[in-house]
C-alpha cells in the first residue's frame, strides 16, 4: 500500500542512516584512493630501482675502463654520477619502503580539515599582504549574487505585475520573454563578455538576464490566477485607483508567490555565477575552483561545496521564514 505513514523515530532514523552511509562511503572511497596512489608510487620506485642497479653496473664497468686508461677526468665525472645515482637510489628506496604520496582528488578527512578548513580560515602571510581565503573568495561572489538577485527580482516584479494587470504590456513582453526563457543563459555568456566587458556589472547582468524572462512570466501568471475577481471588483467599488489596487490588493496577494519564485531562482543564479567566475573572474568562488582543479588540490573545493550547500539551505529557510512573517495570510 502506498503512502503508508511511518513513525517519527523512523523518519529521523532513516535520515541519519542515509547521511551516515554517505560519510562511510566517502571514507572508504578516499582511503582506497590513497592506497592506490601509494601502490603506484611503490611500483614506480621498484621499477626505477631495477633501472638504477643496471645503471650502477654500467657505471662500474666504465669506472674499471677509466682506471685502466688512467683517465682522471672521466673518473671524477663517474664519481659525480655515482653520487647522483646514490641519491636517486635513496629516494627510490624511501618511496618503496615508506610511500608518502597523497591523492588529492578525493582527500581524506584529515586532509579536508588541514587543507580545506584550516587553510581557508587562517590568514596566510604573502609578503606585504595577508590573504584570508574564505573571505577573499566568498565576499566577491556573495556581493555579486545578492546585487544580481535584488536587481533581477525588482525588475521582474515590476514587469511581471504590469504584465499580469494589463494586456498590452503582456502582449508586448511575452514574445521576447517566451523566446529568451528558452535560451540558456550560459550560452549567452560570451556575448556578455564581449559587449558588457568583464566587470562587476557583467556578472549582475548575466544573472539578471538569466532570471528575468522566467521570473517575470511566472509573476504575471500568478497575478492573473491568484488574485480573485471579487477582490478586484470589491476594491474598485470601494473607490480604489488603479495604482492603489495594484499596490494594496494585487501585490499583497501575489507577494508570497514572488518570494517563493525568487527563492527558487537562487540556485540557477549561483550556477551562472560560478560558471562565469570559472571562465573569466580573477577572484571569487569560481576562480578558486578553477585554481584548485588545476593543481588537483581538491580539499578546498569539497569544503566550499559543503559551505555552498549550507548556504543554500539557510537561504531557503530564511526566505520561507520571511514569507511566513510578512504574509501570514498565505499559511505554510
Amino acid at each position: 500500500m502506498i503512502r503508508q505513514p511511518i513513525s517519527r523515530h523512523w523518519w529521523i532514523g532513516l535520515g541519519v542512516a542515509s547521511v551516515l552511509l554517505l560519510v562511510l562511503l566517502y571514507t572508504v572511497f578516499a582511503g582506497s584512493r590513497q592506497a592506490t596512489r601509494r601502490r603506484e608510487q611503490q611500483r614506480i620506485a621498484i621499477e626505477s630501482l631495477q633501472q638504477l642497479s643496471q645503471r650502477a653496473q654500467e657505471l662500474e664497468q666504465r669506472r674499471a675502463e677509466a682506471r685502466r686508461a688512467d683517465n682522471t677526468q672521466v673518473l671524477t665525472q663517474i664519481a659525480r654520477d655515482a653520487e647522483r645515482l646514490q641519491i636517486e637510489k635513496e629516494n627510490a628506496l624511501r618511496d618503496r619502503d615508506e610511500p608518502d604520496a597523497v591523492d588529492r582528488t578525493i582527500p581524506t578527512w584529515s586532509m579536508l580539515y588541514r587543507e580545506g578548513l584550516l587553510r581557508t580560515c587562517i590568514p596566510q602571510k604573502k609578503f606585504a599582504r595577508t590573504e584570508l581565503w574564505i573571505l577573499d573568495d566568498f565576499k566577491p561572489t556573495l556581493i555579486r549574487l545578492l546585487t544580481a538577485l535584488v536587481v533581477g527580482v525588482l525588475i521582474s516584479v515590476v514587469i511581471g505585475l504590469l504584465m499580469g494587470c494589463y494586456d498590452p504590456v503582456e502582449a508586448w513582453f511575452l514574445p521576447p520573454f517566451a523566446f529568451f526563457s528558452k535560451v540558456p543563459a550560459t550560452a549567452v555568456m560570451p556575448i556578455f563578455f564581449a559587449v558588457v566587458h568583464i566587470n562587476f556589472k557583467m556578472f549582475v547582468a548575466i544573472i539578471a538576464f538569466g532570471m528575468l524572462p522566467t521570473l517575470a512570466q511566472s509573476i504575471s501568471q500568478c497575478v492573473r490566477k491568484d488574485v480573485p475577481e471579487e477582490l478586484v471588483f470589491k476594491a474598485y467599488t470601494l473607490g480604489a485607483s488603479q495604482l492603489e489596487l495594484i499596490w494594496n490588493v494585487t501585490f499583497r496577494q501575489v507577494l508570497p508567490r514572488i518570494l517563493d519564485a525568487a527563492r527558487l531562482q537562487i540556485g540557477p543564479a549561483l550556477v551562472l555565477l560560478v560558471a562565469a567566475e570559472w571562465l573569466v573572474a580573477g577572484e571569487g568562488l569560481g576562480h578558486r575552483f578553477r585554481l584548485s582543479y588545476q593543481k588537483t588540490d581538491m580539499s578546498v573545493v569539497y569544503f566550499y561545496v559543503f559551505l555552498l550547500g549550507v548556504f543554500g539551505l539557510a537561504a531557503d529557510y530564511a526566505l520561507i521564514w520571511i514569507r511566513r512573517r510578512i504574509c501570514p495570510w498565505f499559511g505554510d
Binding site: 608510487q41 614506480i44 582528488t105 604573502k126 609578503f127 606585504a128 599582504r129 536587481v151 525588475i155 515590476v158 514587469i159 504590469l162 494587470c165 494589463y166 498590452p168 504590456v169 508586448w172 513582453f173 556578455f192 563578455f193 564581449a194 559587449v195 558588457v196 566587458h197 568583464i198 566587470n199 562587476f200 556589472k201 557583467m202 549582475v204 547582468a205 539578471a208 538576464f209 528575468l212 488603479q242 571562465l279 573569466v280 580573477g282 578553477r290 585554481l291 582543479y293 588545476q294 593543481k295 588537483t296 588540490d297
Partner: protein, 375 residues
C-alpha cells in the same frame, strides 16, 4: 480613461526595461575607465588594466601585488604605482581568455607571446613594449608511454590550438624532421584544442585519454612531478629564441592621458621584480611565490622553471632584443607559420616607430622609462 492609463503604464514598463538594460550595459565607463578618470581635473590617478595569465615571467605581476609594489584593486595604489601616479588594475585570467579579452578591449594591456600578438593584431592594433622572457624548454610536449614521434601519431595531443603551443608543436616536428629525415609532417598528428591547465589536470589525474599534452610552464614541471612516469618528448629548446613572451598594450590606450606613465610603471615593476628575484634573501621566497598559485612546486623545481624561461632581466637586454636583426628574422619565421596555418591572412607588423602597422615591437617605452628614472 482606460486607454490613457494603459499607455501610461506601457511607458512605465518601457522605462523599467530601459533601466534594466542600463544596469547591464554601462559598458562604456566600465571598459574604458581611464578615459573619464584622467580627463577631468580630479586628482584621481588614471586607471589602466593589465591582464596576466599563469606563466613564470608574467606571474611576476601577481607577486608584485603580493609584495606591495602594485595593488591590483581599482582605486588602490602600490608603491610603484604611487611613484608613477597611475592606478593599475591587475586581472588574472586563463591565457586564451586574456587573448580574447584583449581584442574585445576588455583590458588595456595583456601578457602574450610574440606569435599570439601577431594573430590578434588584425582585431586590435597593439604595441609590444616589454619583452619579459623567452621560452627555452618552457613549452613542452609531455607524454606517457610514448617513446618517439611514430608512437605519438595515434594519440591525441591536447594543447591550446592556434596559439603558441601549436606553433611550438609544429616547429619542433619540423626541426626533428630536419635532423632525422623520416618524413614526419605536422599534419599527421592529432593536435586537439584544450586549455593547458585542464590538459595538465587531466594528465596528472591519470585520465586515460590524456597520453600526450603540449603545455607550458609551470604546467610542464608540475606534470612531471605529479606523474613520475611522464616524460618530455620534445620542447622549445629545439627552437631557441623563437617564442618571446611579452606585454602588449592596445594602440588606442596609448592615446589616453597618462599612458606613458602606465607603460613606465609596468616596465619599472618588472625590472624591480627581477632585482627582487636575484636578491639572496627574498629571492628564493619570491621564486616559489611565482609558481605557487598554480602549482605545488618546490624551490628546486622553480629554479628549473626559470632556467627554461630565460628572463630579460635588464632594460638593456630587452632593448637589444627588440632592436636585433635576429628577432626581426624570428618574426618572419613566425609570420610565415601563421599565414601558412591560416591563423592570420596579412599581418602587418613593424619595429620601432614604423607607421601603418597593426603590431609594433617598440623599445622606446623602456628607453623613456630609463630616461624618466635617471636622476
Amino acid at each position: 480613461m482606460k486607454h490613457e492609463s494603459v499607455f501610461g503604464v506601457l511607458a512605465v514598463g518601457l522605462l523599467a526595461v530601459a533601466v534594466g538594460c542600463n544596469t547591464g550595459s554601462n559598458s562604456e565607463n566600465g571598459g574604458a575607465k581611464g578615459g573619464g578618470a584622467n580627463s577631468g581635473v580630479s586628482a584621481k590617478p588614471p586607471v589602466f588594466s593589465l591582464a596576466w595569465s599563469e606563466y613564470p615571467s608574467w606571474s611576476v605581476f601577481g607577486v608584485a601585488h603580493e609584495m606591495g609594489l602594485l595593488d591590483g584593486a581599482e582605486g588602490k595604489q602600490g608603491s610603484v604605482e604611487k611613484e608613477w601616479g597611475v592606478d593599475i588594475v591587475l586581472q588574472e585570467a586563463s591565457y586564451d581568455s586574456c587573448l580574447n579579452a584583449f581584442t574585445t578591449r576588455n583590458y588595456d594591456a595583456v601578457c602574450m607571446t610574440n606569435m599570439d600578438a601577431l594573430i590578434v593584431s588584425p582585431n586590435r592594433d597593439g604595441v609590444a613594449f616589454l619583452p619579459t622572457s623567452t621560452s627555452n624548454g618552457a613549452d613542452a610536449c609531455i607524454v606517457v608511454g610514448i617513446n618517439n614521434l611514430d608512437e605519438l601519431k595515434p594519440h591525441k595531443i591536447y594543447g591550446l590550438e592556434a596559439t603558441v603551443s601549436q606553433y611550438c608543436f609544429v616547429r619542433c616536428i619540423e626541426e626533428i624532421e630536419k635532423q632525422e629525415g623520416k618524413g614526419y609532417q605536422a599534419s599527421e598528428f592529432q593536435f586537439t584544442n584544450q586549455d593547458p591547465a585542464i590538459a595538465t589536470a587531466a594528465m596528472t589525474q591519470r585520465q586515460e585519454t590524456h597520453q600526450a599534452i603540449m603545455v607550458w610552464n609551470p604546467f610542464v614541471i608540475q606534470t612531471q612531478r605529479e606523474r613520475p612516469d611522464a616524460k618530455v618528448l620534445f620542447d622549445s629548446s629545439k627552437i631557441p629564441g623563437e617564442i618571446v613572451d611579452m606585454v602588449v598594450v592596445g594602440r588606442d590606450v596609448l592615446e589616453r592621458d597618462g599612458a606613458d606613465l602606465f607603460t613606465a610603471a609596468v616596465i619599472d615593476t618588472f625590472y624591480r621584480m627581477n632585482e627582487a628575484l636575484d636578491e639572496p634573501g627574498t629571492g628564493d621566497q619570491a621564486l616559489v611565490a611565482l609558481g605557487e598559485k598554480f602549482s605545488n612546486l618546490s624551490l628546486a623545481d622553480m629554479k628549473i622553471v626559470v632556467e627554461q624561461t630565460q628572463f630579460y632581466k635588464t632594460p638593456d637586454e630587452a632593448i637589444a632584443l627588440l632592436e636585433s636583426d635576429e628577432f626581426k628574422q624570428t618574426m618572419k619565421t613566425v609570420e610565415h607559420f601563421c599565414v601558412e596555418q591560416g591563423l592570420v591572412s596579412e599581418p602587418k607588423f613593424g619595429f620601432g616607430k614604423e607607421t601603418g602597422r597593426q603590431l609594433l615591437f617598440d623599445p622606446s617605452h623602456i628607453k623613456a622609462m630609463q630616461k624618466l628614472k635617471a636622476p
